[in-house]
């Protein structure tokens, strides 16, 4: 009996140690000639900084702001291990007197709203979330949203033009609005350039392992879709999507990345990558930080990034450039222009 009490205590001690080591942080910056240094804290969702896309790029926005010496910004990140950490991690920054907290991701919407209401002296920006008037968001809170459907439309148009089998696939993360906008935009884009083409899609369900973080699952699903004749796979969901890219690579099919130029951020998949559907998370985060520093905080609780202001788009074709015919490139450029000037609509309206 004594023995098992002792070992339970040992187990508990190890749990505490593991928990204490669970959060990770990066920090630096702050120029020498600053009269005031603005402290900006970023809290990741469960996708973490290691996702090489969503969280990583948002953090890049903080780093960019930090490197811009005129802003006098000092940044720090906390990674969330589970959804119940979101509020706690944000509060940690507030308690340490941070000027601004950046919450990364739709999944943190409710917690960020509550934290912002509670701490009116701190500015809050949340990536991927738009509050409705009925939620009465306070003035210190702004959502940073993207028209992912426009980026999805562009890669869909490309996939529609490039598919040889007439079937393309997409492997997606959780079914939340930003992901659905990508997915629906992708389908609309495929139909726009290739009305007879078929689009296979699969979303990661709650039982399919860690949300946005299960590349093994994503890879298997990409191979499923390839078995069903798909020859281009769009991987839209953090590490889960990265797995889908690997699946396409292993079957020598083409793949399309998400959120950032994955040719750079995820070189493992360079062998199959046509392009990536980008949303300029870093630009958005840096814009919000700049607004905070310059005292130009948006009064509408919302900053929107779309094709018109360069907030979404597609990456360079890199190694795939030579495999894409000139007329396809022309058509894509044309579609980008039309999306930017508003003469072409994706028809996707999800918020």
């Amino acid at each position: 009996m004594m023995r098992s009490v002792r070992s339970l205590a040992a187990a508990a001690a190890i749990v505490m140690a593991a928990v204490a080591c669970g959060g990770n942080s990066g920090t630096s910056g702050g120029g020498a000639s600053c009269s005031k240094t603005y402290k900006v804290g970023l809290v990741t969702d469960v996708g973490k900084l290691s996702d090489k896309s969503f969280n990583a790029t948002s953090w890049q926005g903080v780093v960019d702001a930090q490197n811009d010496k005129s802003l006098c910004v000092q940044g720090k990140a906390i990674e969330s291990n589970q959804p119940t950490d979101y509020a706690k991690n944000m509060q940690t920054f507030v308690d340490q007197g941070y000027d601004m907290v950046v919450a990364v991701g739709f999944l943190m919407g409710d917690d960020t709203l509550a934290e912002a209401k509670k701490n009116s002296g701190t500015k809050f920006a949340i990536v991927d979330f738009a509050y409705t008037p009925t939620q009465s968001p306070p003035a210190n809170l702004t959502g940073l949203v993207f028209k992912e459907d426009q980026a999805g439309f562009e890669i869909g148009a490309l996939a529609g033009l490039m598919t040889k089998t007439g079937t393309v696939g997409q492997v997606l993360g959780l079914k939340i609005p930003p992901v659905v906008r990508y997915a629906e935009g992708y389908k609309a884009g495929v139909k726009y350039t290739n009305p007879s083409a078929k689009v296979l899609e699969v979303y990661q369900g709650p039982g399919d392992g860690a949300a946005f973080n299960n590349p093994d699952w994503g890879k298997a699903r990409a191979i499923d879709e390839i078995n069903q004749n798909a020859d281009i796979i769009f991987g839209g969901g953090g590490n889960t999507g990265n797995g889908a890219l690997l699946g396409a690579l292993s079957k020598q099919k083409a793949c399309i990345g998400v959120d950032t130029d994955q040719f750079v951020s995820y070189p493992d998949a360079d062998g199959c990558l046509m392009t990536s559907a980008e949303k300029k998370l870093a630009t958005a985060v840096k814009t919000a930080i700049t607004d905070m520093v310059k005292n130009q905080w948006p009064s509408s609780n919302l900053l929107t990034f779309d094709a018109a202001n360069g907030g979404v788009g597609i990456s360079s074709y890199h190694d795939y450039d030579s495999k894409i015919p000139a007329d396809v490139k022309t058509k894509i450029t044309d579609i980008q222009k039309k999306l930017a000037d508003g003469s072409l609509q994706t028809g996707v309206n999800i918020s």
């Binding site: 023995r3 098992s4 070992s7 339970l8 040992a10 187990a11 190890i14 749990v15 140690a17 593991a18 928990v19 080591c21 669970g22 990770n24 973490k48 900084l49 290691s50 090489k52 990674e79 079914k175 296979l200 899609e201 699969v202 979303y203 990661q204 369900g205 709650p206 039982g207 399919d208 392992g209 860690a210 973080n213 299960n214 590349p215 093994d216 699952w217 890879k219 298997a220 699903r221 191979i223 499923d224 879709e225 078995n227 069903q228 590490n239 990265n242 797995g243 690997l246 292993s250 750079v264 951020s265 070189p267 493992d268 360079d270």
Partner: protein, 310 residues
């Protein structure tokens, strides 16, 4: 009908099932070996995670995937050795020491991942090559399912047979089972219970370590915090469902893997069940199995009971 069959893609489903069953089978085999010798091994989740991490680090450092696989196996055996020391030398409650290892593995691999690996944006070591077995790979149906796989999956199939032979057709196996059923009798017959238990727990860890290599070296070519995602626990359910036999564990793992592969596929079969429900299939199945709906499973008599030579 033909169109239905093509859409159902049963061959693809079977191939996906065998692939997804790989870590489950390896961990379940590890569980069988350990528990047959009388040591409960719920540490398999942590052992796999350790193997996945160490294997990846070794492969990244040496640019040699095979070295990585070796390190994964070895590190699995070593961390299982810790479990063995706690359970055999210090007579710690085996559930507690297994839990300690599971938590330790998550913490340590997570921390070292963040400090050393996460920062770099270099290409990883890649993944183990697909070996198409000459001639056999071109067989219809069987070829794509069995003969176009990667190393860990081939090894898994071979190991099912090996572990069966080892446990039920060898002296080692007879002694192992004696230690798991009635250690005092075994000791009386001149068998070192301590030695047999150490041996089996560490072999169990080696199997778990290889299961870990499936994630980081065969499938993803990368390590992610907690990437084993509970597969070690599902493997334990498979072991119980398979009544502590290698073939039983293999078939049970296939069932879990099939429900996993099928659940996701229902989305593009156009069947109107919310995918949130279908994706939970393996877990629902696990609960049913563990709740004993499939007949009584009898564990080795002395499993979980520390044995002290008196």
């Amino acid at each position: 009908m033909n169109e239905f069959l093509q859409r159902a893609d049963l061959v693809g489903l079977a191939a996906a099932t065998l692939l997804a069953s790989t870590p489950l089978v390896l961990a379940a085999l590890g569980g069988v070996m350990s528990e047959r010798s009388g040591v409960v091994n719920i540490a398999l989740e942590g052992i796999m995670l350790t193997g996945a991490f160490m294997g990846y680090v070794a492969a990244l450092a040496t640019h040699n995937l095979w070295f990585g696989v070796g390190v994964a196996i070895l590190s699995g055996a070593l961390i299982a050795g810790l479990h063995a020391v706690l359970a055999i030398e210090f007579l710690v409650d085996q559930i507690v020491s297994g839990t300690v290892i599971n938590i330790l593995a998550v913490g340590i691999t997570g921390v070292y991942y963040r400090t050393f690996i996460q920062q770099q944006n270099v290409a990883g070591p890649g993944t183990l090559p697909v070996w198409k077995i000459p001639f056999l790979a071109n067989l219809p149906v069987l070829g794509p399912i069995f003969f176009q796989n990667q190393f860990v999956t081939y090894a898994m199939v071979v190991l099912v047979v090996c572990v069966h032979l080892l446990l039920f057709r060898s002296v080692w196996g007879l002694r192992t089972r004696a230690c798991g059923e009635h250690p005092l009798a075994a000791e009386t017959a001149g068998i070192s219970v301590r030695f047999m238990r150490y041996g089996n727990v560490m072999l169990s860890g080696a199997l778990g370590g290889l299961g870990g290599a499936y994630f980081s070296l065969q499938q993803v070519g990368n390590f992610l915090p907690n990437m084993t995602g509970g597969k070690g626990f599902i493997a334990l359910a498979a072991m119980i469902f398979g009544k502590w036999t290698p073939f039983g564990a293999f078939l049970a793992s296939l069932l879990f893997a099939a429900s996993d592969a099928l659940g996701s596929r229902l989305q593009f079969y156009g069947i109107n069940i919310p995918y949130q429900i279908t994706s939970t299939l393996p877990y629902v199945l696990t609960i049913i199995v563990v709740a004993g709906a499939v007949g009584r499973a009898i564990a080795p008599a002395a499993v979980g009971r520390p044995y002290k030579k008196s």
